[in-house]
Symmetry: C2
Subunit: 315 residues, 2 copies
């Protein structure tokens, strides 16, 4: 592979050239050795995009909701990017095909950029690939970046931890899902969206959520934001404006309480740590010999870990 | 807290005293400073337990299947331990209550030990807490350890990566779940179990799975194991013996192809790395100042990471 013209790419991305943006995200996805240079070139232009995370179990209508939100933000004159993260997929080929389908009526709109990222199995994984893609889109001048995930597992929670505001989507009649996920989703949701609200049970789902929210658990420290519950029928855009309003209300609340700055500080800190850990891991070198002694019962894994780092770390 | 009598605890755990086993696992869960000493005392007695991972979406009947397997292994004269891992729960209080309920007819059976672990938010998380709990049970002489998880997300995949043999459970009529999870479950399943096989659609689910398996994707390198598909009605123990047989067949296949040793080597290596990374992370110290400069766009996260490690790592 030839050298990458990083400065040129970043300049063209700043001029909103979609192919340059796509190329930069590909470099991130591939864990290119040019990443530090890319990150350095992007840094001065970051910090402006509003990042909205979208998560929920399969079948709740995340893609449809994302598309409806894209339309609503476009109507408000904002440039919008979407990153669809699939932590369980090792493929990006299928993802690319999906992107073309998803672009749909946005295909000729230069104010919209949609990209799937298959992050599983990548070196360092989600923990830093997605944040770097966000930096690309931020520097490229997108006002809003929607980060959509496939489910509500731990890795999804990590992804939405990147967001300024996190939407958790549910649909009526998925009680099992609520039950299974409730510990997690109550903590990460800034706005609950009950989609497919024209179906039976939507009111009950909304009531259940409000009850769960009323039980609290979010008041560990600092000011308290109570996530609103918004009902939508994303397929017909019903209620989507109310979601946009709820996002705006959350942003205003965060600005007022210093929470936006606090979240971004935590996010940057986590990002730095993830990269540092990844860098350190590459210096460890092979662990096979130590692992063999652990399997044989000659050494315990803590002692082995000490031996692994003793050659690399200062006392 | 007083000092922990590690040698005494390990000795009593080796004598199959349930309270000593429980106490050692609590030390693991709490990330006790005595952990390295515990691990060193356990090491000579490890490597004998057969570890079976059990995963699947909520509602497929994991707990019922686990209990049926416990009964089957007990009938075969084996001592059996269960670790139920809930990566989304920050609580262990509720888990304890759940354990008493789950013990059910095993409550007076000293050959059975059941324990829930809530691993979320723990320092280092799943990546090393669960393996250490496995070491406790292994050293305590359990012949089989079943590791059951709540779902099929990324963290579940990490958990089952601990297992010698991984069962993936499905139920009829959960097509969405198959679709969403298929990339992941095809790779991790050594045995597929279609539970609730008395329901409509069980044959179709089994056929779909067999078709997916036939498409391959597992033949990247080394010998090929084709996961069998076993139908069960766990509530009435129907088909459970066939699951036990499938597990035995997989174990025999692994032994024949050197795969068991290879898996355990990989597992130990990952465990050592996770502990080492955790140790390194604690040495990094606070990242707030660097994070602030990244948020301000003065520094990129890669450069910040270099600064973070430069004070700690040898050149």
């Amino acid at each position: 592979m030839g050298a990458v013209d990083v400065a040129g790419l970043v300049g063209r991305a700043r001029d909103a050239e979609p192919r340059a943006v796509a190329r930069l995200i590909s470099l991130v996805e591939q864990g290119s050795s040019a990443l530090p240079e890319v990150a350095a070139a992007l840094a001065p232009f970051t910090g402006n995009a509003q990042v909205v995370g979208i998560t929920g179990a399969p079948g709740v209508g995340k893609s449809t909701s994302t598309n409806a939100l894209v339309r609503a933000f476009r109507t408000a004159g904002k440039r919008v990017a979407v990153i669809a993260v699939d932590p369980s997929s090792p493929f990006s080929g299928g993802a690319l095909l999906g992107d073309r389908v998803r672009m749909g009526d946005h295909a000729t709109d230069e104010g919209v950029f949609i990209r799937s990222m298959a992050t599983r199995g990548h070196l360092g994984g989600l923990s830093w690939a997605t944040p770097q893609a966000l930096r690309v889109l931020d520097a490229a001048g997108f006002d809003v970046v929607l980060v959509e995930t496939v489910g509500v597992g731990q890795s999804e929670i990590e992804v939405v931890a990147l967001a300024d505001t996190t939407l958790v989507l549910l649909a009526p009649g998925m009680g099992d899902g609520i039950q299974a996920a409730k510990a997690g989703i109550l903590e990460i949701a800034d706005v609950f969206v009950v989609n497919k609200a024209d179906r039976d049970g939507a009111d009950q789902t909304a009531r259940d959520l409000k009850y769960m929210i009323s039980l609290g658990r979010r008041d560990r420290s600092g000011p308290l934001w109570r996530p609103p519950v918004v009902k939508t029928v994303a397929a017909s855009a019903e209620g989507v404006d109310a979601v946009v309003e709820a996002i705006a209300a959350h942003q205003a609340w965060m600005a007022e309480h210093g929470e936006l700055a606090a979240r971004r500080l935590r996010r940057a800190g986590a990002e730095i740590e993830a990269i540092a850990v990844d860098r350190v891991r590459t210096r460890f070198g092979p662990v096979d010999a130590l692992a063999g002694r652990v399997v044989a019962g000659e050494l315990d894994p803590f002692a082995a870990a000490e031996q692994l780092i003793s050659g690399n770390l200062r006392a």
